[in-house]
Symmetry: C2
Subunit: 160 residues, 2 copies
Amino acid sequence: MQSLQEKASEWSGVDSADAFAIDSTNLFQKLGLQAFINLSTNFYTRVYDDEEEEWFRSIFANSKKEEAIQNQYEFFVQRMGGPPLYSQRKGHPALIGRHRPFPVTHRAAERWLHHMQNALDSTPEIDPESKVIMMNFLRHTAFFLVAGDELKNPKSTSPV
Amino acid sequence: MQSLQEKASEWSGVDSADAFAIDSTNLFQKLGLQAFINLSTNFYTRVYDDEEEEWFRSIFANSKKEEAIQNQYEFFVQRMGGPPLYSQRKGHPALIGRHRPFPVTHRAAERWLHHMQNALDSTPEIDPESKVIMMNFLRHTAFFLVAGDELKNPKSTSPV
Protein backbone atom coordinates (compact mmCIF):
# COMPACT_ATOMS: atom_id res chain seq x y z
CA MET A 1 0.00 0.00 0.00
CA GLN A 2 1.27 3.47 -0.85
CA SER A 3 2.04 5.74 2.06
CA LEU A 4 0.53 9.20 2.42
CA GLN A 5 3.90 10.63 1.41
CA GLU A 6 4.10 8.47 -1.73
CA LYS A 7 0.60 9.41 -2.81
CA ALA A 8 1.36 13.08 -2.19
CA SER A 9 4.46 12.88 -4.38
CA GLU A 10 2.74 10.98 -7.18
CA TRP A 11 -0.34 13.17 -7.34
CA SER A 12 1.43 16.49 -6.87
CA GLY A 13 4.38 15.73 -9.13
CA VAL A 14 6.65 17.12 -6.39
CA ASP A 15 9.03 14.68 -4.74
CA SER A 16 9.39 14.88 -1.00
CA ALA A 17 12.95 16.20 -1.10
CA ASP A 18 11.71 19.23 -3.07
CA ALA A 19 8.67 19.63 -0.81
CA PHE A 20 10.71 19.60 2.38
CA ALA A 21 13.42 21.85 0.99
CA ILE A 22 11.31 24.27 3.03
CA ASP A 23 13.41 23.09 6.00
CA SER A 24 16.75 23.93 4.34
CA THR A 25 16.12 27.65 4.53
CA ASN A 26 14.39 29.96 6.98
CA LEU A 27 11.71 31.75 5.01
CA PHE A 28 10.37 33.54 8.06
CA GLN A 29 13.73 35.21 8.74
CA LYS A 30 14.07 36.04 5.08
CA LEU A 31 10.56 37.40 4.48
CA GLY A 32 9.25 38.61 7.83
CA LEU A 33 5.80 38.37 9.39
CA GLN A 34 4.07 40.94 7.18
CA ALA A 35 4.78 38.96 3.99
CA PHE A 36 2.93 35.98 5.43
CA ILE A 37 -0.01 38.10 6.59
CA ASN A 38 -0.22 39.67 3.13
CA LEU A 39 -0.05 36.30 1.40
CA SER A 40 -2.85 34.76 3.46
CA THR A 41 -4.97 37.89 3.12
CA ASN A 42 -4.51 37.79 -0.66
CA PHE A 43 -5.28 34.09 -0.70
CA TYR A 44 -8.51 34.19 1.28
CA THR A 45 -9.72 37.32 -0.47
CA ARG A 46 -9.54 35.29 -3.69
CA VAL A 47 -11.16 32.23 -2.09
CA TYR A 48 -14.08 34.10 -0.54
CA ASP A 49 -14.60 35.96 -3.81
CA ASP A 50 -14.44 32.83 -5.99
CA GLU A 51 -17.48 33.29 -8.19
CA GLU A 52 -16.29 31.02 -10.97
CA GLU A 53 -16.26 27.93 -8.77
CA GLU A 54 -19.06 28.32 -6.25
CA TRP A 55 -18.58 24.75 -4.97
CA PHE A 56 -15.08 25.69 -3.83
CA ARG A 57 -16.10 28.88 -2.05
CA SER A 58 -18.89 26.99 -0.31
CA ILE A 59 -16.32 24.80 1.48
CA PHE A 60 -15.39 27.89 3.51
CA ALA A 61 -18.95 29.07 4.09
CA ASN A 62 -18.95 28.21 7.79
CA SER A 63 -15.54 29.78 8.52
CA LYS A 64 -14.89 33.45 9.18
CA LYS A 65 -12.49 34.97 6.71
CA GLU A 66 -10.43 36.77 9.38
CA GLU A 67 -10.03 33.56 11.32
CA ALA A 68 -9.08 31.58 8.23
CA ILE A 69 -6.40 34.17 7.43
CA GLN A 70 -4.97 34.05 10.94
CA ASN A 71 -4.97 30.24 11.10
CA GLN A 72 -3.14 30.04 7.81
CA TYR A 73 -0.46 32.66 8.33
CA GLU A 74 0.24 31.48 11.86
CA PHE A 75 0.73 27.94 10.56
CA PHE A 76 2.95 29.13 7.69
CA VAL A 77 5.06 31.27 10.05
CA GLN A 78 5.53 28.36 12.44
CA ARG A 79 6.27 25.83 9.69
CA MET A 80 8.66 28.09 7.81
CA GLY A 81 11.06 28.92 10.60
CA GLY A 82 9.24 31.48 12.75
CA PRO A 83 7.80 31.43 16.25
CA PRO A 84 5.21 28.71 17.02
CA LEU A 85 2.23 31.08 16.82
CA TYR A 86 -0.17 28.40 15.66
CA SER A 87 0.58 25.83 18.35
CA GLN A 88 0.55 28.39 21.14
CA ARG A 89 -3.02 29.27 20.19
CA LYS A 90 -4.45 26.04 18.76
CA GLY A 91 -2.11 23.13 19.52
CA HIS A 92 -0.68 20.69 17.01
CA PRO A 93 -1.29 21.50 13.35
CA ALA A 94 -2.71 17.98 12.90
CA LEU A 95 -3.28 18.80 9.25
CA ILE A 96 -5.27 15.72 8.32
CA GLY A 97 -7.42 15.75 11.45
CA ARG A 98 -8.27 19.42 11.13
CA HIS A 99 -9.22 19.05 7.46
CA ARG A 100 -11.52 16.17 8.28
CA PRO A 101 -14.76 18.22 8.01
CA PHE A 102 -13.91 19.32 4.45
CA PRO A 103 -14.09 17.48 1.11
CA VAL A 104 -10.39 17.61 0.20
CA THR A 105 -10.63 16.13 -3.29
CA HIS A 106 -8.10 16.29 -6.13
CA ARG A 107 -10.23 19.00 -7.68
CA ALA A 108 -10.35 21.01 -4.45
CA ALA A 109 -6.58 20.74 -4.09
CA GLU A 110 -6.08 22.10 -7.61
CA ARG A 111 -8.47 24.99 -6.99
CA TRP A 112 -6.75 25.79 -3.68
CA LEU A 113 -3.38 25.80 -5.46
CA HIS A 114 -4.74 27.96 -8.29
CA HIS A 115 -5.71 30.64 -5.77
CA MET A 116 -2.44 30.24 -3.88
CA GLN A 117 -0.36 30.69 -7.03
CA ASN A 118 -2.30 33.85 -7.84
CA ALA A 119 -1.93 35.06 -4.26
CA LEU A 120 1.84 34.49 -4.39
CA ASP A 121 1.99 36.31 -7.73
CA SER A 122 0.32 39.30 -6.14
CA THR A 123 2.54 39.40 -3.05
CA PRO A 124 5.66 41.35 -4.06
CA GLU A 125 7.18 41.00 -0.57
CA ILE A 126 8.00 37.40 -1.47
CA ASP A 127 10.92 36.95 -3.89
CA PRO A 128 10.65 34.53 -6.85
CA GLU A 129 12.99 31.90 -5.38
CA SER A 130 11.02 31.75 -2.13
CA LYS A 131 7.81 31.44 -4.13
CA VAL A 132 9.12 28.29 -5.84
CA ILE A 133 10.17 26.76 -2.51
CA MET A 134 6.78 27.56 -1.00
CA MET A 135 4.76 26.24 -3.92
CA ASN A 136 6.65 22.94 -3.94
CA PHE A 137 5.85 22.54 -0.27
CA LEU A 138 2.23 23.64 -0.65
CA ARG A 139 1.54 21.53 -3.74
CA HIS A 140 2.91 18.42 -2.05
CA THR A 141 0.99 19.24 1.13
CA ALA A 142 -2.29 19.80 -0.72
CA PHE A 143 -2.11 16.30 -2.18
CA PHE A 144 -0.92 14.86 1.13
CA LEU A 145 -4.25 16.12 2.46
CA VAL A 146 -6.13 14.55 -0.45
CA ALA A 147 -4.47 11.26 0.51
CA GLY A 148 -5.45 11.92 4.14
CA ASP A 149 -9.02 12.68 3.12
CA GLU A 150 -9.31 9.33 1.38
CA LEU A 151 -8.61 7.60 4.70
CA LYS A 152 -12.18 8.58 5.57
CA ASN A 153 -13.49 6.35 2.76
CA PRO A 154 -10.67 3.88 2.13
CA LYS A 155 -12.65 1.73 -0.30
CA SER A 156 -13.90 4.45 -2.58
CA THR A 157 -12.12 5.18 -5.83
CA SER A 158 -10.26 8.44 -6.19
CA PRO A 159 -12.32 11.34 -7.45
CA VAL A 160 -10.92 12.96 -10.57
CA MET B 1 -18.10 23.28 21.34
CA GLN B 2 -14.73 22.71 22.97
CA SER B 3 -11.72 22.80 20.69
CA LEU B 4 -9.19 19.96 20.49
CA GLN B 5 -6.79 22.12 22.47
CA GLU B 6 -9.34 22.83 25.22
CA LYS B 7 -10.21 19.16 25.57
CA ALA B 8 -6.51 18.26 25.68
CA SER B 9 -5.93 20.76 28.50
CA GLU B 10 -8.96 19.71 30.50
CA TRP B 11 -8.35 15.98 30.25
CA SER B 12 -4.57 16.10 30.70
CA GLY B 13 -4.58 18.71 33.47
CA VAL B 14 -1.76 20.48 31.55
CA ASP B 15 -2.54 23.91 30.18
CA SER B 16 -1.35 24.68 26.70
CA ALA B 17 1.26 27.22 27.84
CA ASP B 18 2.95 24.47 29.88
CA ALA B 19 2.59 21.94 27.06
CA PHE B 20 4.13 24.24 24.46
CA ALA B 21 6.92 25.40 26.78
CA ILE B 22 8.67 22.74 24.67
CA ASP B 23 9.17 25.55 22.14
CA SER B 24 10.90 27.88 24.64
CA THR B 25 13.97 25.69 24.86
CA ASN B 26 15.88 23.47 22.44
CA LEU B 27 15.89 20.02 23.98
CA PHE B 28 17.64 18.48 20.97
CA GLN B 29 20.64 20.78 21.37
CA LYS B 30 20.67 20.18 25.09
CA LEU B 31 20.27 16.39 25.05
CA GLY B 32 21.59 15.18 21.68
CA LEU B 33 20.32 12.49 19.35
CA GLN B 34 21.33 9.47 21.42
CA ALA B 35 19.15 10.52 24.38
CA PHE B 36 16.09 10.45 22.10
CA ILE B 37 17.02 7.08 20.62
CA ASN B 38 17.50 5.67 24.12
CA LEU B 39 14.19 7.09 25.33
CA SER B 40 12.18 5.62 22.46
CA THR B 41 13.98 2.28 22.76
CA ASN B 42 13.19 2.20 26.48
CA PHE B 43 9.60 3.18 25.80
CA TYR B 44 8.83 0.57 23.14
CA THR B 45 10.67 -2.17 25.01
CA ARG B 46 8.19 -1.55 27.83
CA VAL B 47 5.22 -1.37 25.48
CA TYR B 48 6.02 -4.55 23.56
CA ASP B 49 6.67 -6.36 26.88
CA ASP B 50 3.48 -5.10 28.53
CA GLU B 51 2.10 -8.30 29.99
CA GLU B 52 -0.07 -6.63 32.60
CA GLU B 53 -2.25 -4.89 30.03
CA GLU B 54 -2.46 -7.17 27.02
CA TRP B 55 -5.10 -4.94 25.37
CA PHE B 56 -2.55 -2.12 25.24
CA ARG B 57 0.25 -4.20 23.77
CA SER B 58 -2.15 -5.53 21.15
CA ILE B 59 -2.61 -2.02 19.72
CA PHE B 60 0.97 -2.31 18.44
CA ALA B 61 0.70 -5.90 17.22
CA ASN B 62 0.82 -4.97 13.53
CA SER B 63 3.77 -2.57 13.87
CA LYS B 64 7.41 -3.56 13.94
CA LYS B 65 9.17 -2.50 17.12
CA GLU B 66 12.23 -1.09 15.30
CA GLU B 67 10.02 0.99 13.03
CA ALA B 68 7.93 2.26 15.94
CA ILE B 69 11.13 3.34 17.72
CA GLN B 70 12.43 5.18 14.67
CA ASN B 71 9.12 6.91 13.96
CA GLN B 72 8.92 8.12 17.53
CA TYR B 73 12.47 9.39 18.03
CA GLU B 74 12.53 11.06 14.63
CA PHE B 75 9.32 12.89 15.47
CA PHE B 76 10.61 13.88 18.93
CA VAL B 77 13.91 15.13 17.48
CA GLN B 78 12.09 17.20 14.87
CA ARG B 79 9.53 18.58 17.31
CA MET B 80 12.06 19.40 20.01
CA GLY B 81 14.45 21.55 18.02
CA GLY B 82 16.45 19.10 15.90
CA PRO B 83 16.62 18.37 12.18
CA PRO B 84 13.35 17.43 10.43
CA LEU B 85 14.16 13.71 10.27
CA TYR B 86 10.55 12.64 10.43
CA SER B 87 9.22 14.85 7.64
CA GLN B 88 12.12 14.07 5.34
CA ARG B 89 11.20 10.39 5.53
CA LYS B 90 7.44 10.37 6.10
CA GLY B 91 6.01 13.84 5.49
CA HIS B 92 3.87 15.85 7.87
CA PRO B 93 3.47 14.42 11.36
CA ALA B 94 -0.32 14.68 10.94
CA LEU B 95 -0.70 13.29 14.44
CA ILE B 96 -4.45 12.78 14.40
CA GLY B 97 -4.55 11.33 10.89
CA ARG B 98 -1.76 8.88 11.54
CA HIS B 99 -3.34 7.68 14.81
CA ARG B 100 -6.63 7.06 13.06
CA PRO B 101 -6.23 3.25 12.86
CA PHE B 102 -5.74 2.99 16.62
CA PRO B 103 -8.22 3.17 19.52
CA VAL B 104 -6.81 6.25 21.27
CA THR B 105 -9.03 6.19 24.36
CA HIS B 106 -8.53 7.92 27.70
CA ARG B 107 -7.37 4.59 29.10
CA ALA B 108 -4.88 4.05 26.26
CA ALA B 109 -3.48 7.56 26.78
CA GLU B 110 -2.91 6.86 30.47
CA ARG B 111 -1.22 3.54 29.73
CA TRP B 112 0.99 5.19 27.08
CA LEU B 113 1.96 7.88 29.59
CA HIS B 114 2.64 5.30 32.29
CA HIS B 115 5.19 3.61 30.05
CA MET B 116 6.63 6.94 28.94
CA GLN B 117 7.13 8.11 32.53
CA ASN B 118 8.94 4.86 33.32
CA ALA B 119 11.00 5.17 30.13
CA LEU B 120 12.01 8.71 31.08
CA ASP B 121 12.89 7.55 34.60
CA SER B 122 15.21 4.95 33.11
CA THR B 123 16.93 7.34 30.67
CA PRO B 124 19.70 9.04 32.67
CA GLU B 125 20.85 11.05 29.63
CA ILE B 126 17.79 13.27 30.14
CA ASP B 127 18.02 15.68 33.08
CA PRO B 128 15.09 16.09 35.51
CA GLU B 129 14.09 19.55 34.27
CA SER B 130 13.91 18.37 30.66
CA LYS B 131 11.84 15.38 31.77
CA VAL B 132 9.21 17.70 33.26
CA ILE B 133 9.08 19.81 30.09
CA MET B 134 8.74 16.69 27.95
CA MET B 135 6.07 15.08 30.10
CA ASN B 136 3.94 18.23 30.06
CA PHE B 137 4.11 18.24 26.29
CA LEU B 138 3.49 14.50 25.96
CA ARG B 139 0.64 14.38 28.46
CA HIS B 140 -1.14 17.24 26.71
CA THR B 141 -0.46 15.66 23.31
CA ALA B 142 -1.76 12.25 24.39
CA PHE B 143 -5.11 13.76 25.33
CA PHE B 144 -5.11 15.94 22.22
CA LEU B 145 -5.06 12.64 20.34
CA VAL B 146 -7.90 11.27 22.46
CA ALA B 147 -9.88 14.35 21.44
CA GLY B 148 -8.84 13.72 17.81
CA ASP B 149 -9.90 10.08 18.06
CA GLU B 150 -13.36 11.09 19.18
CA LEU B 151 -13.83 12.97 15.91
CA LYS B 152 -14.25 9.53 14.35
CA ASN B 153 -17.41 8.97 16.43
CA PRO B 154 -18.56 12.48 17.29
CA LYS B 155 -21.83 11.40 18.86
CA SER B 156 -20.50 8.71 21.17
CA THR B 157 -19.90 9.46 24.82
CA SER B 158 -16.34 9.58 26.06
CA PRO B 159 -14.92 6.26 27.17
CA VAL B 160 -13.65 6.24 30.76
